[in-house]
């Protein structure tokens, strides 16, 4: 079965631009704010947002980092195949800064919970906001809600949302797949 296109490349670009406007509304020149993208897929959105903020909105010295949460997951030793960690690079201080945590899809909220724990290993931020491209609302396992949302999607557990980027999958788009075996 073919996936449904939730956002095509033009809509994705518009959405990213709109998210950047929202960020600037709250964070102004980002002198007290930093962006952290969650590995493995949130980093592409974080980089895209950082690019737009720097080039289009001329924000100077924007601090962007990437954070891997593998060692903070709550499903270690509960899954059949353990996951391999990706790299973390936070080359700035987050103490007393406003952190914008970025991930591509918010689903159960467990990744964000792990991300908050992992981030606290680097210091105590002044506040933390969550930015996601897709919010699969009504699927939460934990009380986590985004502060900035690209698009809200109502989906069930047999569906999967995939965010694809030009840099990795050659095309910017967001797709909804039905992974259940009992269709047709």
């Amino acid at each position: 079965m073919q996936p449904v296109v939730i956002l095509d490349n033009r809509q994705l670009e518009l959405t990213v631009n709109r998210l950047c406007y929202e960020l600037i509304e709250n964070h102004d020149d980002f002198s007290k704010s930093v962006i952290i993208g969650l590995q493995p897929r949130g980093i592409f959105l974080a980089n895209r947002i950082a690019n737009v903020l720097t080039k289009k909105f001329r924000i100077d010295s924007l601090k962007t980092g990437k954070l891997d949460i593998t060692f903070y997951r709550d499903d270690f030793r509960r899954k059949v195949n353990p996951l391999t960690a990706s790299s973390t690079a936070i080359d700035f201080i987050i103490e007393n800064k406003n952190v914008i945590l970025i991930d591509d899809v918010l689903y159960t909220g467990r990744t964000i919970r792990a991300g908050l724990d992992a981030m606290l290993a680097f210091g105590r931020p002044a506040r933390v906001e969550l930015l996601v491209l897709i919010d699969r609302r009504f699927s939460r396992h934990l009380p986590v809600q985004p502060d900035y949302t690209g698009r809200t999607v109502d989906s069930i557990s047999s569906e999967r949302v995939s965010v694809e980027w030009k840099e990795t999958e050659k095309k910017d788009q967001v797709l909804l797949y039905n992974t259940s075996k009992t269709d047709e």
Binding site: R77, P82, A85, S87, L120, A121
Partner: protein, 311 residues
Amino acid sequence: MSSLSVDHLLGIENISPEDIELIFTTADNFKEVINRPIKKVPSLRDITIANLFFENSTRTKLSFELAEKRLSADVINFSSSSSSVKKGETLIDTVNNILAMKVDMVVMRHPNPGAASFLSKHIKARIVNAGDGTHEHPTQALLDAYSVRERLGTVKGKKIVIVGDILHSRVALSNIFCLQKLGAEVMVCGPTTLIPKYISELGVKVSHKLIDALNWCDIANVLRIQLERQDIAYFPSLREYSMQYGLNMNVLNQLDKPITIMHPGPINRGVEITSEVADSEHSIILNQVENGVAIRMAVLYLLAGKIERES
């Protein structure tokens, strides 16, 4: 692949090059963790690890204990000098008594070769061999190869010479296995009395002239003379040993190209290596120590990942 092919780390001989690469990539992540403000991850918070050291150790024991604590595991320490072993308890009984207290993993150093392998057949916990007599010391070889990779970019195709008391060295044997599995060329260098007779059957080159060996290599891994393992005199005096095989700046300055110096520690300054060399920019001895914690965290994390959760 994100899982080791073995359930215990008993030696390098029975792990694959893919296992070694997985340990290295996991250690890369842990090296970043131990440089953060809060140097801990919660992954092993429901695991208890017993460090059983039936032989003295300072740095290996500290390194393992630190790795365990950085993974948030609960740690208990056992040293044979103050224990029931002196009252005649067998190895299996000692370990089973400890396991009855719900310990999940055992890190063991024992003076008998094969002790870790023997234990793995008789008990349920995961075992990490921290050195079994003159047989293997797998985590030392992993951190040594990892340090080579860090310094030179890769291990494949590189030339490493191990200098010193090869005969009594578990570090040498594990290093030979590990470096060869990663595609390096290995040479051993030392007096004939301290090089095992058939070692060339492992595929290593042998040299008895230090300057030739150092000119050949990219990295020299210098071993300590293990006086505590020597039952007979293998050379006339320590002074003669250090004149022939000791690394000093004169020797290094005579070489065609600069090389990197490694040492598993502890160093005997003035015997196998002078202070000037040990403290120079050629030496990565302290990097090895830092890498040791990251490698041990990686090994413990990957082995713990295979322990089934109690439901």
